[in-house]
């Protein structure tokens, strides 16, 4: 009996200091939707390095699928129980800032070089003069194409939008002669998801037009023109109608589409591509004179956490923004980081198309966002895709769709002229 008690005592003595240490640790909650993507290794390495530099702090890094992640964030903000480190798709940031759940970062950020050294879209993450996030990735776009298909059809890589349309027409084929198209020239997202809206913005920004300027929605005639152009692609049968992102990528990477538009993460899909595509895909600059720009995702800080936690979260954000970790971002993920000039020769060698995306990301001439109404981005996207999907399905003409979109936006969004 005495032996048992002594053993128990020894056991407790061994365990208690560890328990003490655990109790003394501060745990920062950090859910992200990028853990299972090509960005995952970078986030893991960053959190491990942070923990090494801050021995009393542990980061609870968890993965959540993108849609669930933002639903979870909204619920946690509403319940007053937000995660400590907030990572989100940038299109939600203005809405959350508007809802009063994010902390302005300027008092920390102003003491650093971030505002001077970052991609131009960093400036857009502000509401009423306060900055609410750090851009982790700026949208950089490219035209992903199947070189063998282009060569076989004798088509040059398009450098203008009319050339893109012509190339798409020539590349659309019935390969097995059964009367049905089985090779699409261009896979375009015309679905009701937010990426459908992005397709509209590629063509609209590409025509050197913003959707909102000085709180005024672009003319019905201009919206009609862009919609009509998208409709021409659908009517010509160069793209399946109503295509969403996953089927769009699947079409290309399985060798059933010759071209599609994607972001700097596109090379990540090559691993799962059909053998014939894996060795023959290339990326070219988008054949538009102007590009859709803007932030893709960002790090932010919740308002409802203690001052001590805010300091720790800022340390994490600052570490992510450091030149060293920004360089590693390019190297590990193959995407152009927010800090300009972070892509070195080694990264360019490892990722052959990184320079192209870097150039695209650092010089957006137009924004895919409704400037001045960024907090209404999701409503914009929803109303636009409602009209666009109705047009693609043949229910509305481009002009009727443009009128419906314009009326819907003006009805739903206060202050939009």
């Amino acid at each position: 009996m005495r032996r048992s008690i002594a053993a128990l005592g020894l056991g407790l003595a061994a365990i208690l200091p560890a328990a003490d240490r655990a109790a003394a640790q501060t745990v920062l909650d950090f859910p992200t939707y990028q853990l299972e993507e090509s960005f995952g290794p970078w986030w893991k390495a960053l959190t491990e390095a942070y923990e090494r530099e801050n021995p009393g702090v542990r980061i609870k890094l968890t993965n959540a699928p993108s849609n669930d992640h933002h639903r979870m964030l909204t619920t946690r903000f509403a319940a007053g129980n937000p995660p400590d480190i907030v990572h989100m798709t940038a299109r939600f940031i203005w809405g959350y800032a508007d809802e009063g759940v994010l902390e302005p970062l300027d008092r920390w950020m102003d003491k650093t070089d971030i505002k001077r050294s970052w991609v131009p879209s960093q400036a857009s993450l502000s509401v009423a003069g306060a900055t609410y996030g750090l851009v982790m990735l700026n949208y950089g776009w490219g035209l992903v194409y199947n070189e063998a298909m282009l060569r076989q059809a004798g088509v040059a890589v398009p450098t203008t939008e009319p050339e893109l349309f012509e190339a798409a027409r020539k590349l659309t084929r019935d390969r097995d002669g059964d009367g049905r198209t089985d090779q699409f020239g261009m896979a375009l997202n015309t679905s009701s998801s937010s990426w459908g809206f992005m397709t509209f913005m590629h063509f609209h920004n590409g025509r050197d037009r913003d959707i909102v300027q000085n709180r005024k929605l672009d003319d019905v005639a201009e919206i009609t023109r862009t919609l009509a152009r998208i409709q021409e692609y659908v009517k010509a049968g160069v793209t399946p109608a109503g295509l969403d992102n996953n089927p769009m990528r699947q079409l290309f990477w399985q060798g059933n589409a010759a071209m599609y538009i994607d972001g700097s993460w596109a090379p990540g899909y090559a691993e799962r591509a059909a053998d014939a595509v894996r060795s023959g895909w290339r990326i070219a600059p988008l054949p538009f004179p102007n590009l859709a720009g803007g932030p893709s995702n960002a790090l932010a800080m919740p308002k409802d956490i203690s001052a001590e936690r805010k300091e720790l979260v800022w340390k994490f954000i600052q570490m992510a923004a450091s030149p060293e970790w920004q360089k590693r971002y390019a190297m590990v993920t193959g995407n152009p980081p927010g800090r300009l000039g972070s892509v070195d020769g080694e990264a360019r060698e490892k990722w052959p198309f990184l320079a192209l995306f870097e150039a695209s990301a650092s010089r957006p001439s137009r924004s895919h966002l409704p400037i001045g109404f960024e907090n209404e981005y999701n409503r914009f996207s929803s109303i636009f895709t409602e009209g666009m999907t109705a047009m693609v399905a043949g229910r509305l003409t481009p002009e009727a769709a443009a009128r419906q979109i314009t009326a819907g936006l003006k009805r739903e969004i206060k202050g939009l002229e």
Partner: protein, 313 residues
């Protein structure tokens, strides 16, 4: 000398003892108390909060704080005045009623098949109920791929058999999408109906069928005169639960179509989700939630009332 008081000494009054019935009732209440408290916390409070939020224009950060703003009907006006409201009601009606009816028909048919106890029926039973074991989001993903107009197996089979000459845009045509989503949801729901109906079928005494057969009743007559009346109670409960489940189903639509194309599959439940989580308008989302709740409760009560009246007859 002993003085006798006029009145007898006061006997301490005993508290009247509870009767057996009252004690039983008290015990029942005590036993039910945990369930009542759980229901109050997990059901009544959230519904109460939802109703409260629906009458205020609140920011996300204000939802759980004491409300100091004046109440308003603006959320209800915005929700019902939206041009998408009536189409949403229509989509909800198709999704809920057609989906439940379809699940009931398939469920009843498979239950009748399983009740025949043919060779290998245990294996068939497992196959029949297998959709139930699939998570709703996964089931929707499976159907999304099956119905895809470019790679989908359904279109491949339709084209191969010559039934159609070009792929059917199951999920990208506004005229077809709501039916496709409804069918996929019914597929996920029918095993529940099968299990309930099978339990109902097995509760009908076999002697009734034997007597009917001796009287010369055919299969159809036996089904109408014995099986259906015997299943009435089961049908009532199953359809009631099926309707409620369909009203609150949001993941099937979100995964398969996201409410599109052209809002053709945007049910009321999806609009609640969109307003709350996409547009960050909790007040408007709550107002739509209350309206959905009213429609769901009214529909199910009407169903229960209609079927009870019939049972009384």
């Amino acid at each position: 000398m002993v003085t006798l008081s006029a009145e007898p000494a006061a006997i301490p009054r005993r508290r009247p003892r509870l009767g057996r019935q009252a004690r039983t009732r008290l015990l029942l209440i005590l036993l039910m108390l945990p369930a009542i408290l759980c229901t109050a916390v997990l059901v009544a409070w959230p519904i109460g909060k939802l109703i409260q939020i629906s009458f205020y224009e609140l920011r996300l950060a204000e939802l759980m704080r004491p409300i100091v703003k004046p109440w308003t009907l603006a959320n209800y006006e915005a929700a019902t005045g939206h041009p998408g409201f009536l189409p949403s009601l229509m989509a909800t009606a198709i999704f809920v009623f057609v989906g439940t009816a379809l699940a009931l028909v398939i469920g009843l048919a498979t239950a009748l098949l399983l009740d025949l106890k043919l060779t290998g029926s245990s294996l068939v039973e497992i196959l029949v109920v297998s959709p139930w074991s699939v998570a709703p989001a996964i089931a929707s993903l499976i159907w999304m791929f099956l119905l895809n107009d470019q790679f989908g197996l359904v279109n491949y089979l339709l084209l191969a058999s010559g039934l159609v000459s070009s792929p059917v845009a199951f999920l990208t045509s506004p005229d077809v999408a709501i039916w496709a989503v409804t069918f996929a949801t019914a597929w996920k729901a029918y095993p529940f109906f099968t299990i309930m109906m099978l339990a109902g079928l097995q509760s009908i005494p076999h002697s009734q069928y034997e007597a009917a057969m001796m009287d010369g009743a055919g299969r159809a007559r036996r089904f109408l005169a014995i099986t259906l009346p015997g299943l009435r109670g089961f049908l009532r409960v199953t359809v009631f639960l099926g309707l409620l489940s369909a009203f609150r189903n949001v993941e099937s639509v979100l995964v398969m179509t996201g409410g599109g194309p052209a809002r053709s599959t945007e049910t009321l439940a999806v609009r609640v989700y969109t307003e709350t989580f996409q547009f960050l308008s909790p007040g408007r989302g709550a107002a739509l939630g209350v309206l959905t709740l009213i429609v769901a409760v009214a529909t199910t009560l009407a169903f229960l009332y209609a079927t009870r009246k019939r049972a009384d007859i």
